[in-house]
């Protein structure tokens, strides 16, 4: 039986070993092994937008019959449906399709913004990035587009976004 006296050298050595091991375990896994999030010579394209599509139908004038059925305080001449168009998006990289999808408008009445966030790892270097979108179901095909040659450095992030105040699709 080992004497548990704190002055017993065996106890001291055993406790020192324990605390040393404890410290080593904490230290090791607090930084090791290193994690490679993105390989060398790779870059990232982030497709991200929060964008209100066009209304599915245009505003129209109410007929006199329709107006008559409404309460006097509710008789607005115009009726504007709230539902917005989903955003259809397609990205091509060097002529090859990278992504194609549809972002539905948020909200129970589908009157919110369509949002999307996607990340694509691509080789660093020069690429032809082509982005096409449709934000109006009443228009056939893509009504928004941008194509640009981009030189991506290793680890660089290219953000593809769309905003009306930026003139549509833009790269950042």
């Amino acid at each position: 039986m080992v004497s548990k006296s704190p002055t017993n050298p065996v106890v001291l050595v055993a406790q020192a070993l324990f605390y040393g091991l404890f410290a080593v375990i904490i230290a090791i896994f607090s930084t090791w092994p290193e994690y490679t999030h993105l390989g060398p010579d790779r870059a990232l394209i982030k497709l991200s937008f929060s964008y209100h599509g066009e209304f599915v139908t245009e505003c129209r004038e109410r007929t006199p019959e329709e107006l008559a059925k409404l309460a006097p305080n509710m008789r607005a001449a115009k009726v504007c449906p709230r539902e917005r168009s989903p955003i259809t998006v397609r990205i091509d990289l060097d002529g090859q399709p990278l992504y194609e999808g549809v972002a539905q408008p948020a909200g129970l009445s589908k009157d919110g913004a369509s949002t999307l966030y996607k990340r694509f790892e691509v080789p660093a270097g020069e690429h032809l990035v082509s982005v096409k979108m449709n934000d109006n179901v009443r228009v056939q095909g893509f009504n928004l587009a941008r194509e640009e040659k981009m030189a991506l450095k290793p680890a660089q992030i290219l953000v593809v976004d769309v905003r009306k105040d930026h003139g549509g699709i833009f790269f950042e």
Binding site: V2, K4, F18, F22, A27, F29, Y35, G39
Partner: protein, 523 residues
């Protein structure tokens, strides 16, 4: 036996062996493996104090924080740097001991019956520890913090809870100091919730183990201090929203979820986290042994002394005004909290077997193992012992199997918990014909009911009421704590005790025999 129980029993035997080795060097009171919860609290206190200091000195702006941290890490390394490292390493230590604590409580089967509350309330603690820790990495606002923030946002974006993806916050040009203030608020707010959750977690245990023994507290603190000096915590480069962090020295205690998510998918990570949480929450619902009947108070024999109230490890006894005696109190058992351990019966002064009543009824008793029945059984079995020396062994159902010690000269009484043993039973056994009494049970820290071992030892060494009377010779009492895997140790102790008793003279250190009148009268 189910696979789960086989696994648990095998793991428990291994764990207890390691604990026993640690006992030899730390003592049970300072054994880190037996006080993992207290050690976790200790790490929380260190993180709290160092965190308050860092909050006071650091500049908390999106442009300033990294520079500020770098200054304290490198220029003022002797204080700010050490505080930062202590903060980080105590948080890492917390995860380590928390996971070991969960594993240990599972192995000991402490997750069902009356313990469901502590188990279930521990689950949110797990989430809050991770939320607190991960949020702390964001605050550093280096490449690692940015990586963690984006990875966390991508994970949460999988849930349909944000109108705008949270990840869009980390696009170039969109971040500002208001966002950073939110992070500071979260890293203070979530730890406050953590403290609240910890308080809730320990509500159903009395005398909670929230401060480790001084030796253990000092030992771990100096361990962290040395680690902070030897390997100071340093930052990655300043966060840059235009580039992806490539190679990262991540803290695997907290941030392992991010590589796991990128290896699988956000949905898969939610599935894993959800399943693990559900598994923890479901464990108390799985089939398990039925809880024994709870303690029962016998008002005519309860004098309101409060010893059961003080000794109950789960705060399951309340003292109420006595119905018939003004100014007196009466114990009342709270059924939802009672663990059915019997420690209260061992604490009751009315449990003394020397009482002359024919039928011994004590103030608070266990229906499945009443003190009166124990007295009766003891009288008969000690009287029937043959040979020399005659030994009475009081053991515990949860510890080493004392039934294996049964023999012609040895009478074994296995109790629900050794804490059920009123100290006066030791004297009674010696005066009824036993040459010696061996008391055994779980090692301290292994006790299925927290304080059974500790209270028994303190009662028998006259440090706690009700205590063994001073006239009882210490030579004829042996205490030997032994967990389930230590049967050979217990047998060796009994053999040694037997030889020792033989070496004593027949009348040496012996109490005067006592025959109760009720037995003498009835023959």
């Amino acid at each position: 036996m189910s696979a789960k129980n086989s696994l648990r029993q095998g793991g428990l035997a291994l764990w207890q062996r390691v604990e026993t080795v640690f006992d030899a060097f730390f003592g049970t009171g300072g054994n880190p493996l037996r006080h993992l919860g207290a050690l976790g609290f200790h790490f929380v206190w260190i993180a709290l104090v160092t965190g308050i200091y860092l909050f006071i000195v650091l500049d908390t702006g999106i442009e300033d924080i990294h520079t500020s941290i770098e200054y304290y890490t490198h220029e003022q390394w002797w204080l700010g740097g050490i505080m930062r490292s202590l903060h980080r390493y105590s948080a890492d230590g917390l995860v380590l001991v928390m996971l070991l604590h969960i594993a240990r409580e599972f192995l000991y089967g402490r997750y069902h019956s009356f313990r469901w509350y502590s188990w279930i309330t521990g689950v949110p603690v797990l989430w809050l520890v991770y939320a607190s820790g991960i949020g702390g990495y964001w605050l550093v606002w280096d490449q690692l913090g940015l990586f963690s923030a984006i990875a966390s946002a991508e994970w949460f974006d999988w849930l349909p809870i944000f109108s705008d993806p949270a990840t869009r916050n980390f696009l170039p040009g969109l971040l500002n100091d208001r966002f950073f203030s939110l992070l500071v608020f979260l890293h203070i707010g979530i730890p406050l919730f953590l403290l609240l959750a910890l308080w809730v977690h320990i509500q159903r245990v009395s005398q909670s183990d929230v401060f480790p023994a001084r030796s253990l507290a000092l030992g771990t603190f100096f361990m962290l201090l040395v680690l902070s000096l030897a390997k100071p915590t340093i930052s990655h480069g300043k966060a840059d929203l235009s580039v992806v962090p490539t190679v990262l020295h991540i803290d695997w205690y907290y941030l392992f979820i991010h590589p796991l998510m990128y290896l699988t998918s956000p949905a898969a990570l939610w599935a894993m986290a959800g399943l693990f949480t559900l598994l923890l929450l479901a464990l108390p619902l799985l089939p398990h042994p039925k809880q024994q009947p709870i303690a029962v108070v016998n008002p005519p024999n309860c004098n309101g002394c409060r010893r059961c109230f003080v000794d109950c490890p789960y705060g399951a006894i309340a003292m109420l005004p006595h119905m018939d005696k003004p100014g007196h109190e009466l114990a009342r058992v709270l059924p939802d909290l009672c663990a059915s351990c019997g420690i209260c019966a061992g604490a009751c002064p009315s449990s003394t077997p020397f009482r002359s009543v024919d039928k011994l009824v004590t103030g608070i008793d266990m229906p499945q193992q009443p003190v009166g029945v124990l007295r009766e059984e003891m009288e008969h079995r000690i009287a029937a012992l043959a040979g020399q020396p005659r030994i009475a062994v009081f053991g515990c159902d949860c510890a080493a199997d004392t039934k294996q010690l049964e023999g012609a000269g040895t009478a074994v009484f296995s109790l629900m918990c050794t804490g059920l043993l009123p100290p006066s039973f030791v004297e009674y056994a010696l005066r009824s014909g036993a040459d010696g009494v061996l008391v055994t049970g779980c090692r301290e820290g292994s006790c299925a009911y927290r304080f059974g071992t500790r209270w028994t030892e303190e009662r028998l060494t006259r440090q706690r009421e009700p205590h063994l009377r001073p006239t009882v010779p210490e030579e004829r009492l042996r205490l030997a704590w032994a967990d389930g895997h230590e049967m050979s140790h217990l047998k060796a102790t009994l053999d040694d005790f037997r030889q020792y008793l033989q070496s004593l003279g027949a009348d040496e250190k012996r109490l005067r025999p006592y025959t109760p009148r009720r037995i003498a009268h009835h023959g």
